[in-house]
Subunit: 359 residues, 4 copies
């Protein structure tokens, strides 16, 4: 249940790690939008496994295969179904895991919930399914850019393990992709890259934080009770594999502030610079205020590690697990386009909902 | 739009701070549940304004008025509508705020979104509307307790400003309500109470953190893609006024961990103690694993403060705001029952959804 | 479950026949709409029991009590909750029905489904709850009329028992309300009135058909797969108590036609007169084409009759039922405003959805 | 928008007549169900074009291609995506129709709504997309049969043009498929077959009625306000291409009945034979009562005919249309499995919803 997200721009996700394809259906994309396949593929390439030394070595070309909803490169108003093939599957890697309950993974809970589990590569619980989300996010971005040419969504790695950018984050957006870590602080990026490679050698994994900044977001997005901008973004981010927390503006630091420090003063006669500061992360009462959106997403370390771990088999007997499969020593660099995609999907939906704000 | 939450146990919220009532409709509560009005009222009393020296002095009796769906104290399967009257409204307090854009509040964004604003007490953006949520949460709790007698939801204040409980939090649940702060560390609670009173005197406000622990939660709750247990709880928590972040298990601390530290080892032959540690906060792959759920919610300081603030009026002219209205110097003590209510609502919905996990 | 209807203009119904009130929440009404209470009350008056000799003699004033979402007579974008009080309840009428399973009513099926039944006046299964729908329909009409001043929805009684208007129905809309039957054929109306009064004397009831015509409906309303204009209208009509069928345009007569008779030819250069004929009832491929919408709704005779009936009690023992309660000998005259209300609700929702038809 | 149907057993449809595939995603199928591909293919074969002399001669093998959600022939709880390829597309047939507005078709309304139209074979408005619905219906049937082995859904052609079965319909279910018309009255079927062939020769088309009977349906299905069994079935039926009406039990004949004739008396001590008669079609108050469900669906004649028709082009200029493409002279024989599929989908959803009827 619940494989759909959104109210008007609604995505429905399907597929498993080792099936023929993963995919997405987008229902509610307005007609008349130019669907740029190259752009979709460029976004998929950013998420693709095997793209650098610090990611899993699974090889997938990850080209989008548009099945429906697009006619002569233009959206028709019909649902857009996109498939992304699974090619480099190696199911044999997983046969020995059939009866093992891996720590940190969904093996135990899927067994408890469903009484059956597709054990190949995590099945439905694999982050492989986010390829479909990234394809949908690319279309959401095309819609947003058509409507708001100045809107830009920039996510980046701001922390890996104990290596963190200093706050406030000051950087040039074009530096984000200057390195395989996707951290705009180039010196820090080098240290992070070295750390990830060392961690990989040790057979371990590390967590990290992705920060996301949205410039040019119009005021008025967000439905103010149960679909607040932060609720919708929060739900979307917490749907990404390995995410354990999300915060907006000052986030958890707000807890140790006073109102006189936390309130952002409105600027007289302002248009673009609405408030003097941006503690709120660009949202008040659940609605965007026209300031940049800012939020951060915490990822736990990947659960698959090569180091031996104590665990149990399906019958509850103790076993020692030593994973051999390909995996990411740190998921955050590849999760950057996923965070951006989910942001775009939420904003596109909020934008379409805002059409009926007032008569 | 979007004033409903949930899939099967679905709540629809309505009402404003200064209208005749706030209320809630619960659609999807199974028939045959004993609806204990005293219990609902006891929950409302925990959220009620004016309950102690550290809360707003607005006086409301906050008794539930059940309009529908209950026959001879039992749910019938029909939607349950509950009204909670607004009595102590003093609209006169707000007339001078008609044209002021208050920092930190939703005045500016409501104007931008709707072109009209009910300026009395924040209108729809007031936390007053959470009274309805607490009533619905009480019914969700009655349902959960009927099904899982050992399930208990305990939220508590773990931090106010820079005063925080040390981790891991070790305490007796009955100590939470031993003080008006709702912090189970009694020594810390005294300090927090003094801080809040001092802050109130200074005309300022402070933020804080609420932690929530759910014992006795069965395994198998949570729909594993876009309605993960953490996504649904996260969305619900981020719908509460003033919330700026939410984290599960180790949360943001996960980012600075290694997989070998973060993975919770499964215990051989275990039933109640599924894993050795609980870094995951009781959820794997978006599904509860039978361990205690643990998550934390960050609240910014209340936006209403008595200290003078630079802001603008509706025309963009600079004004100095000095609020006179009644308000909470720290919202977290009164938000404890709200966090518990939203937790119960999400778990009740997840429980009903789990009926169709497998054939 | 499922007490809500609609995607953007979404109504949530609650209440029972003999509770304190029935009501509705409208979520998704755009801000800035003038909410004319007198208009809402005028619509409620058309549905009100006790309005003429041919309706039930239950006396209800049925004034709307707006609880939320309206500020200074204008919608704010917040959910609009409206209560309509139940005053003339006489629960004593129903105590003897506590253990009787009445033919044609929902007693048996509610018992089977819920294991509990509010037996007072049919509880949730009473058509009393449509008072809330009519209030919501009035607001939908206000929205539609604001957007499309020429749009008008006219439902009327076209058949009662074997007394039917001849097709095609040709009449002046103002004649509909010239009589208490709400049939624009005045001669037929007299016969119908006499028939209903005779039926009432006999202790029996009669069925009938309501036809509905919508002039001035813009082209482009209706989502073309599972929310076709006819699917949405059909669902709404089949939600009204006692409805057993619905047909669009030629409806069941289409079955005995040839394509060459049934296809409506497009008129060259047309603007207002799109097609030569209107067999389709104004919808092609599930989308309005700008021609008048036309559909018909069949009502079974009211199930409550005074004549003795063979039935059973809750234990399955045979009993003879002789109802004494007040009831409508023919429901269709009072159902006219309900059909109009549900039409308006569906069209308002379809209209708001159409905002995102294309970029 | 609105390409999904259902609450728990939810289908999402996608695809066009002349794209690579049409398809369906089923979200909410419980885990552990044996997914019999042969059964799905046998249902698709019943809907397949080219199956007999009285259907369109488009040739499609229509085998299901299951992309996800099934592991070792068993449902896993993950969404099930099924593709059905389009092979015999002949787009060239349609190029000359690019600028023609065909009577009875969705060309005009799609242009009005979307400003763009996939003109090949009707694009999204083609009944080709119901192949996906039939595949989903087959899975719904497998679920229902697993739960209720005695439940059987039998739809059949009861009328074509002026050739109708006499009421009440008495027949042996096995006779439905004894002829290509799918009418269980074998003598009538011969006449209908001859009529359809003659109509085809004349370049015309004819309408008809499908009746549907569900034996063994348990009591308690249907949510009693906006998702009444008849509302949900009605919505589903009115989503099928060319449907112009739907009626339940006595349907439109109810209008000309008295309550004393229409009410079905309950039988004392009954278990299987709940009521003496079945005017209600097996539903009271929107909930199944355990009697057979009975309803009927009216289809207009297919809009594509070879006879010349007056119409307009996209610019509003008059043109004469003479269709050359392959088409069905009468759609009802092939619509029988579609009606059955949609019935199964609705009942499966209602069944899963009924799990939370009471505590």
């Amino acid at each position: 249940m619940s494989n759909s997200l959104g109210t008007i721009f609604k995505i429905t996700s399907f597929g498993e790690s080792h099936g023929p394809s993963v995919g997405i259906v987008i229902d509610g994309c307005p007609a008349g939008l130019y669907i740029d396949e190259d752009y979709i593929n460029s976004r998929l390439a950013k998420r693709r496994p095997g793209q650098s030394a610090i990611t899993t070595q699974r090889k997938e070309s990850d080209n989008c295969n548009i099945i429906s909803g697009v006619f002569e490169n233009t959206s028709t108003g019909a649902p857009i179904c996109i498939l992304i093939e699974n090619n480099d599957q190696r199911s044999v890697d997983y046969d020995e895991l059939k009866n093992i309950i891996r720590p940190g993974h969904a093996d135990y809970t899927y067994n408890q919930k469903y009484g059956i589990r597709d054990y190949k590569g995590g099945g439905r619980s694999s982050a492989r399914i986010t390829a479909g989300w990234v394809a949908a996010g690319a279309i959401a971005e095309l819609l947003l850019k058509h409507k708001f040419p100045e809107l830009s969504i920039n996510a980046y790695v701001s922390q890996v393990y104990n290596l963190a950018m200093t706050k406030p984050h000051i950087f040039k957006p074009e530096d984000i992709d200057s390195n395989i870590v996707r951290c705009p602080d180039k010196e820090l990026a080098k240290k992070i890259e070295a750390l990830i490679l060392k961690t990989k050698e040790e057979g371990d994994s590390v967590g990290g934080i992705i920060s996301c900044n949205v410039e040019g977001c119009p005021a008025g997005l967000g439905e103010p009770v149960f679909n607040k901008l932060q609720s919708a973004l929060g739900k979307a981010m917490l749907s990404i594999n390995a995410v354990k927390g999300v915060q907006f503006g000052d986030g958890f630091d707000s807890a140790s502030k006073k109102g006189s420090e936390s309130n952002d003063s409105f600027l007289a006669g302002s248009l673009k610079n609405i408030t003097e500061t941006n503690s709120s992360g660009g949202m008040l009462g659940g609605i965007s205020n026209g300031m940049p959106l800012f939020f951060e997403v915490a990822f736990k370390p990947a659960s698959t590690i090569a180091l031996p771990q104590n665990t149990v088999d399906s019958s509850g007997n103790p076993v020692i697990l030593k994973s051999q499969g390909r995996h990411d020593p740190c998921v955050v660099p590849r999760a950057v386009p996923i965070v951006e995609a989910m942001t775009a999907i939420v904003l596109a939906d909020m934008h379409l909902m805002s059409y009926s704000n007032h008569i």
